[in-house]
């Protein structure tokens, strides 16, 4: 993907011009001040080629590395397009803040800064809060959950006797985590709101304190100044703690402001305890408990009404839900359900089906694709998904490729239906995968585990089969993007045609392309495409009399072995605009650079990254190895000729160390252009793989009258 295309993708995924109130940049990042932060699709931004990372915060920052200036120019163009020529250049930058490294375009769209109230914004603030509170406790919950499930397994297999002290003591370990769940969320809530942590923990700790629980649970209950304290079991409840800490936050802020400084240290917490604790035991606690029951009830109700259909449907839409980050909304109710009833039969079960389907689909893609990079990605993504982490598979393989996505949905829904019908339940809150599979062990029902396993196999089998049948490299967004952006590694994996179609290869009778594209039709090559791999492509170029009658035609040979790429796809503003002439580019697999024609060496930079040759017939050709490689100051290049030397077509000019160039972070793609193309008609004859020495481009002198025709 070129810079321009990436810029377009970034622009779209931050919400377009209407959503950008300010655009600035620093040395590696684009900095967007957005009207609505939630409209920025973080996942999609990360998936854009060229984007190294995304950081959300007061500004949405997109890390693009050294191309930031070009990206900024391109995005700025998109923002201000609608045509005034002033666009990127001129006055817009004058408004940048003095001295700041981030000078920016003028603010557009919406009043600077103040964000309008909207349900969407409230919703996203809420979601953000929920995620910040629950996500950090997951490792503890997951670890304890698996521990517990292993104990259940041990007991089911007869290794441990549940009545022994051994078992009871060991069980106490994970049980402690669940028992003290209110404290865990009290901590994370306090951290999120920046409330004093120990005070928050101390406050919520009341709910679990033996002296308190004993009083409340005693015969006849207990009353505080005449009011009976509700007898609620707060063990493993999350919402009472969260609500209480939120109220504590309000109390803390108020009193910190109004309290005389010298006594603040003890007075603020004192007020916190005095005010919030009674509120908590009378109102907030029962309220939270009720909320938890409601949520759990809703989840169960959904499950009970729709039954297995619910599981199947959820499994089917999970890829979509995860891609927008909304799957995190399922964590609190799932957590509450498992804490309250010990198991979940909905979200975690659907996840099992989904995770395994991602794995199956990815493995099938790895098997069927010919693109080496994608294959490597798919294999590692498949393994990750197998162990419960689906992001690599989702973002690296399935979301970008329709056919893979279809197979995932198919596998998920089939397995989801089976798991729903057999009423499989999960007993630990952890992402289902091969290592965590013990989460489905039910001490009371061995079939639960077996059905889970069967569901797993179904998911993998269905998704693998569907993916293997449907997959086409030619219909793959990833393959296309890789072949445009990636290095020569992929060039060997050809047979699949890229988007590279020769620009106006109108001249009939020129050498047939070496490979006829297998799937996609390559339009515009009227000559008989001989698929014979050994066809000596030196062929009839010189005889091309179909060319303008009687004028000389020069064939420029490819200086490198590799893959032909159209010049306008080269990710360099100067070359792709044809400023240095018409021609083509080669993505090399080998570093030997040979003369495209016979003539004199007229230019050889000190940095040896570019060679200019004037042919005997006046055609001036420039071969520029890699983009921006002048920066390397000659290190990876060895010159074999000097300025003024006479060279023959095919003679070795320079040797380039492609690995070193790539390792330094530069693109090896090599434009080959006719610098004086105003005087010639230049046509590109080759697509796909090319060997050094094969005809690449035909150059025909124009009639004198046409010397100023557009090149």
């Amino acid at each position: 993907m070129t810079t321009t295309e990436s810029a377009q993708a970034i622009f779209d995924n931050v919400g377009g011009a209407a959503n950008i109130s300010k655009l600035q940049h620093c040395s590696t990042r684009l900095r967007f001040a957005l009207v609505d932060d939630t409209l920025a699709d973080e996942a999609a931004l990360k998936a854009v080629p060229g984007v190294i990372g995304v950081v959300k915060g007061p500004q949405t920052q997109v890390i693009v590395g050294s191309k930031v200036a070009e990206m900024y120019t391109a995005v700025e163009k998109l923002r201000t397009s609608g045509g005034s020529g002033a666009a990127a250049g001129a006055a817009a930058d004058g408004s940048g803040a003095g001295g700041s490294a981030t000078t920016g375009g003028a603010a557009s769209g919406g009043p600077g800064g103040r964000k309008p109230f909207s349900w969407k914004r409230t919703g996203s603030v809420f979601m953000d809060f929920v995620v910040s509170v629950f996500t950090p406790i997951i490792p503890a919950i997951a670890g304890a959950g698996i521990f517990k499930s292993l104990l259940v397994l041990a007991s089911a297999l007869g290794w441990l006797d549940p009545t022994t002290d051994n078992f009871k003591l060991l069980s106490a370990i994970p049980d402690a985590v669940f028992g003290f769940l209110p404290l865990l969320v009290a901590y994370t809530t306090a951290k999120k709101l920046d409330v004093n942590r120990p005070v928050a923990l101390g406050l919520v700790g009341l709910l679990l304190f033996p002296a308190f629980t004993a009083l409340v649970a005693q015969e006849g209950g207990v009353a505080l100044f005449g009011l009976t304290v509700p007898n609620v079991n707060y063990n493993a409840q999350v919402f009472p703690a969260i609500i209480s800490v939120v109220v504590l936050w309000g109390v803390e802020r108020l009193f910190t402001k109004i309290t005389w400084a010298p006594i603040r240290t003890f007075f603020v917490p004192l007020m916190g305890f005095i005010i919030v604790a009674p509120l908590m035991i009378f109102v907030l606690g029962p309220l939270g408990y009720g909320l938890g029951t409601l949520l759990t009830g809703a989840m169960l109700g959904l499950y009970n009404t729709l039954g297995w259909v619910a599981v199947m449907l959820l499994a089917g839409v999970l890829p979509l839900i995860i891609s927008v980050g909304m799957h995190k909304a399922f964590i609190p109710p799932t957590l509450a359900t498992v804490a309250a009833s010990g198991k979940d039969s909905f979200y975690l079960v659907a996840s099992l089906a989904h995770n395994m389907s991602e794995a199956g689909s990815s493995f099938a893609v790895a098997l069927r694709t010919k693109n080496r990079t994608l294959r490597a990605t798919a294999i590692s993504a498949g393994v990750s998904a197998l162990f419960g982490i689906t992001e690599p598979a989702l973002y690296g393989v399935t979301l970008q490729n329709r056919r893979a996505l279809i197979s995932v949905v198919a596998g998920s829904m089939t397995a989801g239906a089976y798991l729903g019908l057999t009423q499989v339940s999960a007993f630990a809150v952890v992402s289902p995968g091969a290592a965590s599979i013990s989460m489905f062990i039910d001490g009371a029902n061995p079939w639960n585990f077996l059905n889970a396993l069967i569901g797993l196999v179904i998911a993998i089998a269905v998704s693998f089969t569907v993916s293997a049948i449907l997959w086409r490299d030619s219909d793959s967004g990833t393959v296309r993007a890789l072949e445009n952006a990636n290095g020569g590694r992929d060039a060997a994996a050809t047979g699949t045609s890229t988007a590279a179609v020769p620009a106006a290869s109108v001249v009939a009778g020129t050498a047939a392309p070496r490979h006829a594209a297998s799937d996609a039709a390559v339009s515009g090559t009227p000559s008989s495409a001989s698929v014979d791999a050994d066809a000596d492509a030196e062929a009839p170029a010189a005889d091309a009399s179909a060319a303008a009658a009687g004028t000389t035609m020069t064939a420029l040979l490819s200086p490198l072995t590799g893959e032909v790429v159209p010049l306008d796809s080269v990710d360099d503003a100067v070359f792709s605009a044809g400023i240095l002439g018409q021609g083509a580019a080669v993505r090399p697999t080998d570093g030997a650079v040979r003369a495209p024609l016979g003539g004199t060496v007229t230019a050889l930079m000190d940095s040896k990254h570019a060679v200019g040759i004037r042919g005997d017939n006046g055609v001036e050709v420039l071969v520029h190895v890699g983009l921006d490689t002048v920066q390397l100051e000659g290190a990876p290049f060895t010159a074999h000729v000097s300025i003024g030397d006479r060279v023959d077509a095919g003679q070795l000019l320079v040797t380039a160390d492609l690995d070193a160039i790539r390792a330094a972070g530069y693109d090896t793609i090599t434009p080959v252009v006719v610098v004086n193309s105003d005087d010639y008609t230049v046509t590109v004859d080759q697509t796909g793989a090319v060997q050094a020495g094969e005809p690449l481009v035909s150059v025909t002198a124009k009639e004198k009258e046409n010397a100023h025709g557009a090149a």
């Binding site: 040395s27 001040a33 890390i63 200036a69 990127a88 250049g89 001295g99």
Partner: protein, 276 residues
């Protein structure tokens, strides 16, 4: 009298004066042991005030709260070095450079390598700033024991150039990017060879620098008649052809038109540099 509104870290506090104007104050240890709401103890000589005049700076202040104090100290040392070299910098550099350095180290730790493709141009066009950048990278290595790649010097230089009083409003990165692009076009279509240490080419690069700065400031040169342009077209057609390519490029990439006067000057410098 300044009241501390928020202590960001031990070297940075947010203060408010009696008129309610908020500013950021930097000083070694200034935030240590201080609490929001107290009055600021006496103002020491080495403290710096940075005004907060728009929302972007407020955002940077928020970011600053999350950055360890040692980065602020490092920035102060770098700025002192720069001022010693004769540069006059806008105080906002304390915010932006600190944020940049912190982020650079973070990137390094995460293995996010970013090649700086304008490093050569930075060195050539802004050598003073680049030298300060090199020393900054050394300092960072000494103080924080993190080895940043040499190209980071160019990034630091970018920030310094942007902060220079007198260059306010200049986006040095785009300036250098344009210089790099024009150099590329010119070096391949004329005999101009741009070498770093060559006196002749340094005059050429200087012209490009001023041209680029004029371009982004919207202050391109024009003239009543095209005398210069027409004369050069006759005398130095090759140089003018090369300059015309630059015109085409600027039209294509930046959607802007170069006046004939600018094309003429460019051609003039090309002609001079290629005959030497």
């Amino acid at each position: 009298m300044q009241i501390i509104k928020k202590v960001l870290n031990s070297s940075v506090v947010l203060v408010e004066d009696e008129r309610g104007v908020e500013r950021v104050l930097l000083g070694k240890g200034i935030g240590f042991g201080q609490k929001a709401g107290t009055a600021l103890p006496s103002t020491a000589a080495d403290q710096v005030f940075v005004a907060l005049d728009d929302s972007d700076h407020r955002n940077l202040v928020e970011l600053l709260a999350q950055i360890p104090a040692e980065y602020v100290e490092l920035t102060r040392a770098i700025v002192a070095d720069a001022e010693g070299s004769g540069l006059e910098l806008d105080p906002h550099i304390y915010l932006t450079l600190t944020d940049h350095l912190h982020f650079a180290v973070d990137r390094q730790r995460r293995g996010l390598f970013v090649a700086n493709r304008l490093a050569w141009e930075m060195r050539t066009v802004y050598p003073t700033e680049h030298a300060i950048g090199v020393r900054a990278v050394d300092r960072l290595r000494e103080r924080l024991e993190v080895e940043l790649p040499a190209e980071e010097a160019a990034n630091v230089a970018f920030h310094l150039v942007n902060a220079e009083v007198g260059k306010v409003g200049i986006d040095s990165q785009r300036v250098v990017q344009l210089i790099a692009q024009v150099t590329q076009i010119v070096s391949h279509t004329s005999g101009v060879r741009v070498n770093r240490d060559d006196l002749h080419s340094s005059r050429f690069v200087a012209h490009l620098q001023y041209f680029a700065e004029r371009f982004f400031a919207g202050k391109l040169l024009t003239s009543e008649d095209d005398f210069l342009f027409r004369s050069l077209s006759e005398r130095y057609p090759a140089a003018v052809a090369s300059a015309e390519r630059v015109r085409t490029f600027v039209r294509h990439e930046y959607d802007a038109d170069l006046p004939n006067e600018e094309v003429a000057f460019l051609a003039l410098h090309i002609a001079r540099a290629s005959s030497e």
